[in-house]
């Protein structure tokens, strides 16, 4: 058990190094000139051949592959990620500025994943094969087949276009004035809902929440549809176990059998999947934020990709890969800690 955790921690830097190497390989498909564009603030410098030559030397873009990689790595470690043309600021500043918005969205999206996915999954398994189960199952498969961008547009179409309930963006303009321009509003965490509560401003809290609901639903529905299927099959397995039969034959009432005996054990594998699903939502962030013009990292990365701002796109990928690696590590270790069969080994 301890050996496993130590091994995982030792592998962490190797994997991260591998990720940077892979990203650099992809980056190297571009010519030095194209790569140079990701370091330059003023595009007109690229017109002067002499300054281009000088800059290519300065940033070591003409070096042979291994040297180029080491130089690039050195800059990454210093968080010198270049200049983002799309955001018109340095890539690192762009990331720092947009990170809280994405974090807020992902954090809130965890709630429906856990609640709906696990809760409906258990219900579906308990009512195995009757109408309710079939309905839940079919809904989950359809949800699984519905691409985020179609679903998101439908949500936008219905709840904004027709009903005008859930507007896109992160805040209404009146709230933006207060949050970003007013001196009375203090940004402690940069998560607007929490800041609003800390400032005691309920109307801003409600406004931020109103903007969050549609992106949350769009980002999370695939995860909970999938989790529901996993919970269902894990619960079905557990309900067939001998100890469940024993409990039933002892005359334990059905509610206790399901919630005390079966559910607890059935949820052990579900936890890993839930963790993976939450991490997996990182991938959906780009589409969700693009649809709802939600000013987070994903929206920025998608815009950068359209404008071929490769430096920003690559930094975004590096960041998300790191987040995913760390997330996976946490999930794996917590799984090892939770499951008594693994823990005692």
């Amino acid at each position: 058990m301890l050996a496993y955790i130590i091994r995982r921690f030792l592998l962490l830097p190797i994997i991260i190094l591998g990720v940077t190497f892979l990203i650099f390989c992809v980056f190297s498909l571009l010519s030095p000139m194209e790569r140079l564009a990701t370091y330059i603030h003023d595009p007109s410098t690229l017109k002067n051949p002499q300054s281009v030559e000088r800059l290519i030397n300065k940033y070591h873009l003409d070096d042979p592959f291994p040297l180029g990689y080491i130089n690039w790595l050195k800059r990454i470690v210093r968080l010198d990620l270049g200049w983002s043309q799309t955001a018109n600021q340095s890539v690192w500043d762009a990331i720092c500025q947009r990170f809280p918005a994405t974090l807020e969205l992902v954090l809130y999206s965890i709630i429906p994943v856990i609640l709906v996915g696990i809760w409906l999954g258990v219900i579906s398994a308990v009512h195995h094969n009757d109408m309710l189960d079939q309905t839940i199952r079919v809904t989950a498969i359809i949800g699984w087949s519905l691409p985020t961008f179609v679903f998101g547009l439908l949500v936008l179409f219905i709840f904004y276009g027709i009903l005008d309930w859930l507007p896109p963006g992160r805040l209404s303009s009146w709230a933006q004035d207060i949050v970003y321009a007013s001196s009375n509003f203090h940004s402690y965490t940069h998560l607007i809902t929490i800041d609003a509560l800390l400032n005691g401003n309920i109307s801003i809290f409600l406004d931020a929440l109103r903007h969050l609901i549609a992106p949350i639903i769009t980002l999370s529905y695939i995860s909970w549809a999938f989790l529901l299927r996993i919970t269902r099959s894990s619960m079905l397995d557990t309900l067939r176990k001998d100890y469940v039969r024993t409990a039933r034959s002892k005359g334990v009432d059905e509610h206790t059998v399901i919630h005390l005996h079966a559910k607890r054990n059935a949820l052990i594998p579900v936890i890993t999947v839930a963790g993976m699903m939450i991490i997996g939502m990182l991938g959906g962030v780009m589409i969700t934020e693009t649809i709802f013009t939600y000013p987070g990292l994903g929206f920025w990365a998608a815009t950068a990709a359209q404008q071929l701002d490769s430096g920003s796109v690559i930094s975004f990928a590096l960041l998300f890969a790191t987040l995913m690696i760390v997330g996976n590590l946490i999930v794996d270790i917590s799984y090892a800690l939770i499951d008594p069969r693994v823990r005692l080994e």
Binding site: F21, L29, I141, V150, L282, Q306, M324
Partner: protein, 311 residues
């Protein structure tokens, strides 16, 4: 095998999937008859007007476009946009029909190639074990460290637009699941006596993998492949939606949906005016993916020994 086919046809949900797939195959095969191309490149969606605004279903081809075709001597075989036009006057119906071919092309090619790469790496890894296994599996981990869509987007941004580049990106970051799956199966299968016997007889390693191990372990990979055709098509469409996939005007469902993005809210006072821009392409994508998922889902249930006899 017979049992599998019988189950596939007797299960209601997989039957729906098979029927849907059959319809899509018909559409793809007869695309030139259903929607006759107006230019040399059939994957280029024809425009029904030069107007940026989408036009409602039944919109007749505009006069200035008709003039262009008359001038080029092209016979206009249909003159109405049955499902309306998308942003820029692109005919939605044409895009849907030819987009079916694009979807099949993306799904089948990426899954086949990614499957081969994955099976190759996974079986080598499992069969030889030791540091080869360790090395190959860590490489697999590195590729798995990226969210799929993010990785595919980065690669297409660097490689440039085009359907071939999208497929390359999907393959480069799509093989890892198969590698892990086949590795697990081969790890347990290689301890079986028939493998020992083959080894004792001096059969070459490659032949043992190819003739003895793979035939016994490949089926779960094929099920996995069936199930991921849908997600490959979705990811390709998502790339088009983000604006880094197929070139503008290419018959591709994702792009049809992305055309709808700016219009979905409708004009002030006419909420939902442009419903057709998202509804029709959306239905095609969902049904296509659903069909593969239904078939794959049933296949998996059939193969899962724990559920046998319960279907």
């Amino acid at each position: 095998m017979n049992r599998t086919v019988r189950k596939l046809f007797s299960n209601a949900s997989s039957l729906v999937g098979i029927v849907l797939l059959f319809i899509f195959i018909i559409i793809a095969l007869f695309a030139p008859i259903i929607a006759p191309p107006l230019s040399d490149n059939p994957y280029q969606v024809p425009r029904m007007s030069w107007d940026v605004n989408p036009q409602p279903p039944g919109f007749p081809i505009s006069d200035d476009i008709r003039e262009v075709y008359d001038f080029m001597g092209t016979e206009i075989k249909y003159d109405k946009a049955i499902c309306g036009t998308a942003e820029g006057g692109y005919d939605i119906f044409y895009g849907l029909i030819w987009g079916t071919r694009t979807a099949f092309k993306i799904g089948l090619i990426t899954v086949t190639v990614a499957g081969f790469i994955g099976v190759f790496i996974g079986s080598i890894s499992a069969y030889f074990g030791g540091w080869i296994d360790e090395g190959l599996m860590r490489i697999t981990d590195i590729f798995l460290s990226f969210p799929f869509l993010v990785a595919a987007m980065v690669l297409t941004t660097i490689l440039g637009r085009g359907l071939d580049k999208v497929m390359i990106a999907l393959i480069v970051f799509g093989w890892m699941g198969y590698a892990r799956l086949i590795r697990g199966s081969i790890l347990s299968a290689k301890e079986e006596t028939y493998v020992m016997a083959a080894k004792a007889l001096g059969v070459k390693d490659i032949k043992i993998i190819w003739k003895h191990l793979l035939p016994n372990t490949i089926f779960p990979v094929m099920v996995q492949g069936t199930m991921s055709i849908g997600s490959m098509v979705i990811t390709a469409a998502a790339l088009s939606f983000l604006g880094v996939g197929a070139p503008v005007g290419y018959a591709d469902w994702g792009q049809m949906v992305s055309f709808a993005r700016n219009w979905i809210i409708g004009a002030p006072g006419h909420a939902g005016q442009y419903w057709y821009t998202v509804l029709y392409p959306g239905i095609f994508i969902v049904l296509f993916v659903l069909a593969w998922n239904l078939v794959g889902d049933t296949l998996r249930d059939i193969l899962d020994p724990r559920l046998r006899g319960e279907l």
